[in-house]
Symmetry: C2
Amino acid sequence: MADPIKVLVQQLAKLPGIGEKTATRLAFHIIRSPEEYAVALADAIRGVRREVRLCSVCCSLTTDDPCAFCADARRDRETVCVVAHPPELIAIERTGAYRGRYHVLHGVLAPLEGLGPEDLRITELLRRLAGGEIREIILALSSTVEGEATALYLTKVLRPLGVRVTRIASGVPIGGELEYTDPATISRALEGRREA
Amino acid sequence: MADPIKVLVQQLAKLPGIGEKTATRLAFHIIRSPEEYAVALADAIRGVRREVRLCSVCCSLTTDDPCAFCADARRDRETVCVVAHPPELIAIERTGAYRGRYHVLHGVLAPLEGLGPEDLRITELLRRLAGGEIREIILALSSTVEGEATALYLTKVLRPLGVRVTRIASGVPIGGELEYTDPATISRALEGRREA
């Protein structure tokens, strides 16, 4: 293989979920595609690293500081939805069901991987609470062991500060068949039952 | 989503086999990765389009013209292995079982997609044959409808020129269980049987 192709395959294979075979296929696609595409892709990669930063308020990814969510006066200032990673913020925003602010932790507690509270953007969240405006913190964390541990930790830290701390509901997903739902999810759905 | 992220997701989603979800995951990975990686990846993409060209002899992808295969005096000049695409050349080369030259068609006949003989690098192959040095052309094309059609077409064009035209064998893959091999492959394997 020509050296520039080898180099590109190596770099592409560093991306998550991309093995050497896929990287090779992508590299040959890039070679065959119009030069404008290769230039646009390369510029987009450089651009994202150069222009995207963390919002100094909510730590979401943004080109402007504060970000569009924090700067939008129509969004409820009293409610903050805490997510672990930026894509989760986008997933929530896509529903159109939430009109409060956000806070991105950039991780979850994972002691086995050496990730403690000091590695998450918790200090920034506490600083926001000191402003006194926030009434409710919604923890929108994944239902994984690490997500649960992070939610428990945050609840312990936040509740004494006089703020309401809630968690998004766990249960049977919409369209999910009860028969094929795992026992842990069913237990959680029973526990979280509400008046019909 | 911040605009530079959207732009990157759009560009990544143009790659084959990469949908919007995967593109989003890759984009966030690039944002989180060290800046050196983003720069190296962007440079590799630009580099491959700038430095890689077609060998003027065999049409393989190369940075030097003629390519390393055509320039290697130790390789058999009398045998040319014809492949449809560059990755197939690499697959053959990886076996270490072939020491002749190559010719890359950059496609197969696909009339339904409007790909005729004039879209393949056949003129370049005929020009090489005019040199008089080539004695055997091995057609190493996939066992697909298009691959078969291309092989038949090339056989018809090349045989009258007094060159030996062969095809790589079709049959049961090594490690393949006869019980689970499709009927067409078994028929082909029977047809191609040899003295034990």
